[in-house]
């Protein structure tokens, strides 16, 4: 038997849903096995079963042919199963070395003895080509190195089965290439890798085989050699998906948004979060601000949308200075905003979907009279949007926003913002955490907006998204716009260099 781990016929039910329905996943020794599926397809549940966090109703787990019972993460560790989580589990004020040994420290006479550990870590990092600085505090190192630290944590515990949960979401193109190399390296050293993702390119680049889940069921396991992106996405979504957006040529019209030398300071540290940024967005144009997370994108958007006071500079919306305008004034002047964090800003989760649909409209004459809300009108309006934008919600307009899936929450926000009278749409990571089907839908909507002659400012961390729909790319690095690029004439690699700050275009502000 050459399977190192087999999960046979796993079924896990939750009230109302069958999260895993007789799923079989067989991991060969020394292979990279991709686990592909939309959000809610059952990937996380399956991994939680493997880690003993859930007990399946039926099905067995075999380790090298022998049935095992996994009652918790400790059992999983004992079986040599390790995981790099999407959100790293590191102690930020500890050094890399301290993080790696945390929980399995070498102790002599009740005192820590780090030397032994250090030798082992250094040896491991050399063997697998995982470049780290063992004494750097985690708070100071790059995301890439944090990830390598996580990988070393697994290796230090001598795990044989390594699970990577959406490992590329936080990385630059260069770091992704690096990670792919590391994964292949690990494979050559005999480790078995389970790679959870919904990025098709990466599967084609590194995986040997791929198991696809859809709506809790296993669709099948295929050899990656000979597979295509289109084939994989069709397996995942269950229908044909157009990956390339058909984009018509539009001549951009008048300037909608004009930003001049905008500076935003951190109130406490006085550091410039956005520094002297100037750009403009015109009608019928999708301008994308690309960059690695945390380079001032959020603050830029907050300043544009009125959630944060700009220190310096000016913002013009359709020719009018709105630098000091309130959120509502900006809205009335034609700004719509799909926020970065749909839970923090986008929705009042404990309000019904109908209440959320009128979050910026409830005070308009159509929805209230003498201060009393006309619920009939609100519900009718919301029902219209739900229908038009195909928002799926269990109990209709009275569904609590909290109970809806992430994709449908996002659809609801898009419906609300697209239906507002607007000239400019600020969309911040509108596809974050969504699956292929939903992403396609949202990109179509954005292009539709563009077709209607709206100006769109898109903030994105996903390079594929940047390339597939934008008309112009602005690269933001440490609060500054370091390049203004044409997506047709720039490569992924080049863009990656700008994003990492190692390249900078002369003449850019």
């Amino acid at each position: 038997m050459d399977y190192i781990i087999e999960m046979n016929g796993i079924t896990k039910k939750f009230p109302g849903v069958i999260a895993n329905d007789h799923i079989t996943l067989q991991l060969k020794k020394g292979e990279i096995h991709a686990l592909l599926g939309e959000n809610g397809a059952g990937k996380s549940t399956l991994m939680s079963v493997l880690f003993g966090l859930y007990q399946p109703e039926s099905g067995v787990i075999l380790k090298e042919g022998n049935a095992v019972k996994i009652n918790g993460p400790n059992d999983a560790t004992r079986l040599g199963i390790g995981m790099v989580h999407q959100h790293f589990k590191l102690v930020h004020n500890f050094t890399v070395l301290e993080n790696i040994v945390l929980g399995v420290e070498t102790v002599k006479h009740g005192l820590l003895s780090m030397e032994e550990a250090r030798e082992k870590v250094v040896a491991l990092s050399r063997t697998y080509g995982l470049e780290i600085d063992p004494d750097a505090p985690v708070s100071d190192i790059t995301v890439g190195m944090q990830q390598r630290t996580e990988i070393l944590k697994m290796l230090y515990r001598e795990n044989e089965i390594l699970i990577f949960d959406e490992p590329t979401a936080v990385l630059t193109p260069q770091e992704i290439a690096e990670l792919m190399k590391i994964m292949k390296n690990l494979k050559e050293q005999g480790k078995s890798i389970l790679f959870i993702t919904h990025k098709l390119n990466e599967i084609l680049a590194v995986a040997d085989r791929c198991t696809v889940l859809r709506k809790g069921k296993g669709v099948g396991t295929i050899e990656v050699a000979g597979a295509t992106k289109e084939g994989l996405s069709e397996m995942m979504v269950g229908r044909k998906v157009s990956l390339e957006m058909a984009k018509s040529d539009i001549d951009p019209g008048a300037v909608v948004l004009d930003v001049r030398e905008l500076t935003v300071k951190n109130k406490i540290t006085g550091k410039n979060l956005v520094c002297n940024v100037s750009f403009s967005v015109r009608e019928g144009e999708i301008v994308c601000v690309a960059g690695i997370d945390g380079n001032g994108q959020s603050e830029l958007v907050y300043a544009l949308t009125g959630l944060l006071r700009a220190e310096n500079g000016q913002v013009f919306l359709r020719g009018k200075d709105i630098t000091r305008a309130t959120v509502r004034e900006r809205g009335n002047r034609g700004m719509a905003h799909i926020p970065e964090d749909r839970h923090k800003h986008g929705l009042v989760l404990d309000y019904s979907i109908a209440y959320n649909m009128v979050l910026q409209h409830y005070f308009e004459p159509a929805f209230q009279r003498h201060g009393f809300i006309n619920y009939g009108a609100v519900y009718a309006y919301a029902a219209g949007l739900i229908e038009k934008y195909d928002v799926r919600c269990g109990q209709g307009v009275k569904t609590a926003a909290r109970s809806m899936s992430g994709g449908n929450q996002q659809k609801a926000i898009i419906a609300r913002e697209a239906e507002r009278e607007h000239k400019l749409l600020v969309a911040v990571q509108p596809t974050r955490g969504l699956d292929v089907g939903a992403i396609e839908y949202i990109h179509e909507r954005l292009l539709e907006e563009r077709g209607k002659g709206k100006g769109i400012l898109l903030i994105s961390l996903e390079l594929e998204e940047v390339f597939s729909i934008s008309d112009r790319i602005l690269v933001i690095y440490e609060g500054q716009i370091v390049a203004d690029l044409d997506p047709k004439s720039v490569t992924y690699q080049e863009l990656g260099l700008y994003m990492a700050g190692s390249k900078r275009k002369e003449g850019a502000s």
Binding site: H337, V348, L359, G371
Partner: protein, 373 residues
């Protein structure tokens, strides 16, 4: 069938919410019984029976329940309203006290106002004073980001000492070390309640204040559920960031919520001292208990305005029972302890609520599955 059930009172309260509050009350009472056993085992059963039943024992006691419930319903509404908008108004006591003073001051000094207008003026003065007192922590929070709990507590003490000072300066009755009696037409009309709720010749202190409290609860319900103001305030309370994102001024929301909350507490102060029960503002350095009792009243009702009427009545009922327990040599403090336990468990009410809802879902689920198969 189901729909009819949902539309009734249970629907208004939220059935699982009410059930969880009842569970908290039951556990609290059980614990109270143990307390009585420890204190005095032989009389525990009789004392407990008194606690449970004496509020209903005769019409006079029932009248007293209404009388005790009135001010704490008001402070409960005050705390509950703030709670719905994400604020913890622990300053209801201070707002209650300044409201009480202004009401009594008007009731004593504004003799030029004829008949009912004096009472109305006193009530309005109390609301205004409470609103001003509540607005200060609101302004501090909105503009300077001062935690409302801290500023409210400070305002409680400032209010108490200020009122003591003002009572002595303006409306002092030396013999009783308390405020002077208000003019009789300053009192809230009894509306014949005292004649209904009586025991032979002994009348209760029941008065029209209870109706004002109920009206206030209904008004709060309407504001929160039916108006744009309520929509805004609740949005601020549930998700301040989303409110800001949508262009709702969170600052204005905070101040408005505290003003309304303070006015409710201030009105409570007026209703207690204008009850015609001969109660005066004592010049003592103690924060008014009615203000703090608003917190458990609101908690027990999970901030639901209609629920607050009932939880206020319940706490009033327990107060009367505790009073009568003195017959068996139990100190009324035992009641305070029992109420404390109930409150303690009502903090778990939310937990219990979640549990009940889950249970309900599971039942529905199994029902569906059984039906499907």
């Amino acid at each position: 069938m189901n729909e009819i059930k949902q539309r009734g009172l249970w629907g208004l309260l939220g059935f699982s919410s009410a059930l969880s509050s009842f569970a908290a009350i039951a556990v609290g009472l059980l614990f109270g019984f143990f307390l009585l056993l420890i204190a005095n085992a032989t009389d525990a059963a009789a004392g407990f029976r008194t606690l449970i039943t004496s509020g209903f024992s005769d019409l006079k006691s029932m009248g007293q329940v209404l009388y005790f419930a009135t001010p704490i319903i008001m402070t409960g509404l005050s705390v509950g309203f703030a709670g719905k908008t994400g604020l913890f108004n622990i300053g209801a006591t201070g707002q209650f006290t300044v409201g009480a003073y202004c009401a009594v001051f008007v009731g004593v000094r504004f003799s030029f106002l004829p008949g009912l207008t004096l009472c109305l003026a006193a009530l309005l003065a109390a609301m205004l004073a409470g609103a001003i007192w509540g607005s200060i922590p609101g302004l501090l929070k909105a503009w300077l980001n001062v935690n409302e709990v801290i500023s409210c507590i400070m305002m409680n003490y400032i209010g108490m000492y200020l009122v003591n000072y003002l009572v002595i300066q303006t409306i002092y009755n030396h013999r009783h070390n308390a405020s002077m009696n208000v003019l009789s037409n300053a009192n809230v009309p009894r509306l014949g309640l005292d004649r209904i709720f009586r025991d032979g010749n002994i009348v209760s202190s029941a008065n029209g204040g209870i109706f004002i409290a109920i009206l206030a609860a209904i008004a709060m319900y309407v504001i929160l559920e039916k108006t744009t103001l309520g929509y805004e305030l609740k949005a601020c309370g549930l998700n301040k960031n989303a409110a800001q994102y949508a262009g709702i001024s969170a600052k204005r929301g905070i101040v408005t919520a505290m003003v309304i909350s303070g006015a409710l507490a201030g009105l409570g102060g007026a209703l207690l001292y204008l009850s015609g029960a001969g109660k005066n503002i004592d010049v003592v350095d103690v924060l008014a208990q009615e203000g703090f009792n608003g917190i458990p009243v609101a908690l027990l009702a999970l901030n639901n305005p209609i629920g607050i009427i009932f939880s206020g009545l319940f706490i009033g009922y327990m107060t009367v029972g505790g009073f009568n327990m003195q017959l068996y040599n139990f100190s009324p403090q035992v009641v305070n302890m029992i109420v404390a336990v109930i409150i303690y468990f009502s903090a778990f009410a939310l937990l219990v609520k979640g549990f009940i809802q889950k249970l309900g879902q599971r039942e529905k689920q199994s029902g569906k599955e059984a039906g499907g198969e």
